[in-house]
């Protein structure tokens, strides 16, 4: 039997297989000594869980906690303000991925900046920024880069191309963030605003497209140093269910390991070529503020000093504010991201805070927990 492209879709979304795995999980869960809370770190997993109603198929002893794995949701307002301010500079074209269209900063969203006459362009791929820079030699094109390890190599590839072609008018504003550091923060916080010692996370479903690039190895510390098992799972509903089954088995068999469910795409080492490309251009930033979670050490990247001339943050340092902007007082996203509360427990959920007018980070993008609850009826 050879593999067909449609198998990669259909076989991993098959309702009968989802139900069968649910039954196996139910049987395995009977052996549990206590209920377990599984954090799916990635917004893509949250989306799958809500869209396919997976929670309803699981026994009560397994609870999902929705994690902060949505680079758009966690973008602090001050960074969005940077993009807004840069877009308003004369002769600047601000280019970013479509995910950023509606995310509000303190001055408004990039869509608002555009409606006020700023030249903001939303693209599908970073490569589109190259084309825009070539076509507009008399303008400064600034690529506002967002995303986790999955997306970072594509920004690096864009930089590679720009340097190779000797482009002088393409700059970068880097907001790439990294997954393991925020996972550590959720268990073991050093931020004065975050009482992570009350966290209820027993195990993680590991973001897998991050691991396609960075390898499963990045989750090695969690079973070892934090005693939290990790299963790196694919994004299809069958993948998520099999990932949950593997985690429950670890608990019932008293194991605590790093396992990969998504073996068809994830290796232990990851894509070394992409990793080399990331390391060539980027290094760790000291602290980066995550909306809803506060400052997290080493959780973001910045351009290396030798590429300072491409760094929009340095080039425009005198007009970009450094002050932090507080999160909305009524918003409890920080608690939601640590599994202390559900979206429906927030007093502004679906009233003052909606996808069309988000107050907090979890409502900003369709991958945020609150937005997923809003869209799929808060049935969990």
């Amino acid at each position: 039997m050879s593999l067909q492209l449609k198998d990669l879709y259909d076989k991993f979304r098959d309702p009968a297989t989802i139900k069968a795995l649910a039954k196996l999980i139910g049987e395995e869960a009977k052996k549990l000594e206590r209920p377990i809370n599984v954090m799916e770190v990635c917004g893509g997993h949250t989306h799958t869980i809500m869209k396919y109603g997976l929670k309803q198929l699981l026994p009560e002893s397994i609870e999902f906690i929705h994690g902060p794995g949505c680079p758009v949701c966690i973008m602090p307002k001050e960074r969005i303000d940077h993009a807004y301010i840069l877009a308003q500079q004369p002769d600047v074209i601000l280019v970013t991925l479509g995910d950023m269209i509606k995310v509000p900063g303190s001055k408004g969203s990039l869509q608002d900046a555009r409606s006020k006459g700023a030249d903001v362009r939303f693209v599908y791929s970073p490569l589109d920024a190259l084309k825009i820079a070539v076509e507009n030699p008399d303008k400064t094109v600034i690529f506002f880069a967002i995303g986790f390890e999955t997306t970072t190599p594509m920004t690096a590839a864009l930089m590679d191309q720009a340097i190779e072609r000797g482009l002088k008018n393409l700059l970068f504003h880097i907001n790439h963030v990294t997954v393991p550091e925020v996972m550590k923060e959720l268990i073991d916080s050093r931020d004065v605003h975050v009482d992570s010692y009350n966290n209820r996370i027993d195990a993680f479903i590991g973001p897998s497209h991050v691991s396609v690039i960075a390898g499963a190895k990045i989750y090695e510390p969690f079973p070892r140093a934090y005693h939290r098992p990790v299963v790196v799972s694919g994004f299809e509903p069958v993948d998520v269910m099999e990932g949950v089954l593997m985690l429950v088995k670890q608990f019932s068999e008293k194991r605590c390991e790093l396992e990969v469910q998504y073996r068809r795409s994830v290796t232990y080492e990851g894509n070394l070529k992409a990793q080399a490309m990331i390391n060539k251009y980027f290094e760790k930033r000291g602290l980066f503020k995550w909306r809803g979670l506060g400052n997290i050490p080493d959780s973001a990247l910045k351009l290396r000093d030798e590429y300072a001339k491409f760094d929009a943050e340095k080039r425009y340092a005198d007009i970009l504010p450094k002050e932090e902007i507080e999160d909305h007082k009524l918003c409890i996203c920080g608690d939601i991201l640590r599994g202390m509360a559900k979206p429906t427990e927030c007093q502004v959920f679906s009233t003052a805070c909606k996808p069309s007018s988000p107050l907090g980070s979890c409502m900003v993008s369709s991958e945020g927990a609150c937005a997923a609850y809003y869209k799929y009826g808060g049935v969990m």
């Binding site: 492209l5 990669l8 791929s125 070529k273």
Partner: protein, 100 residues
């Protein structure tokens, strides 16, 4: 944000470091910078924002599909047995040995 789509490579252009991929009938050009050395026509890849991220391991994918198939067959078998057992039980309860 981190989502990506399984696609099939239909044409590789090593000089340009690109490939034409087919995503369920839609063809487009993507960057292959991260898999340029090993990618071949016919490979399945994950596409994320205009680039192929990896080559999907066909054997692993087939292995998963086989495991799911076996789970389904085993469950069908268990269900058939359950139905048969319950029928046997019902006939046991019948005072005249199931003959009406």
């Amino acid at each position: 944000m981190c989502l990506s789509i399984p696609s099939k490579v239909v044409e590789v252009n090593k000089d340009e470091v690109t490939a034409i991929v087919d995503t369920m009938g839609v063809k487009r050009k993507v960057g292959i910078d991260f898999i340029a050395d090993e990618v071949e026509e016919g490979d399945y890849v994950l596409i994320h924002i205009g680039y192929a991220m990896n080559i999907i391991d066909e054997e692993d994918a087939l292995e998963s599909i086989k495991v799911y198939q076996e789970i389904l067959e085993k469950m069908d078998e268990e269900q058939r047995q359950e139905v048969q057992e319950s029928m046997v039980k019902e006939s046991d309860n019948c005072p005249n040995g199931g003959v009406t």
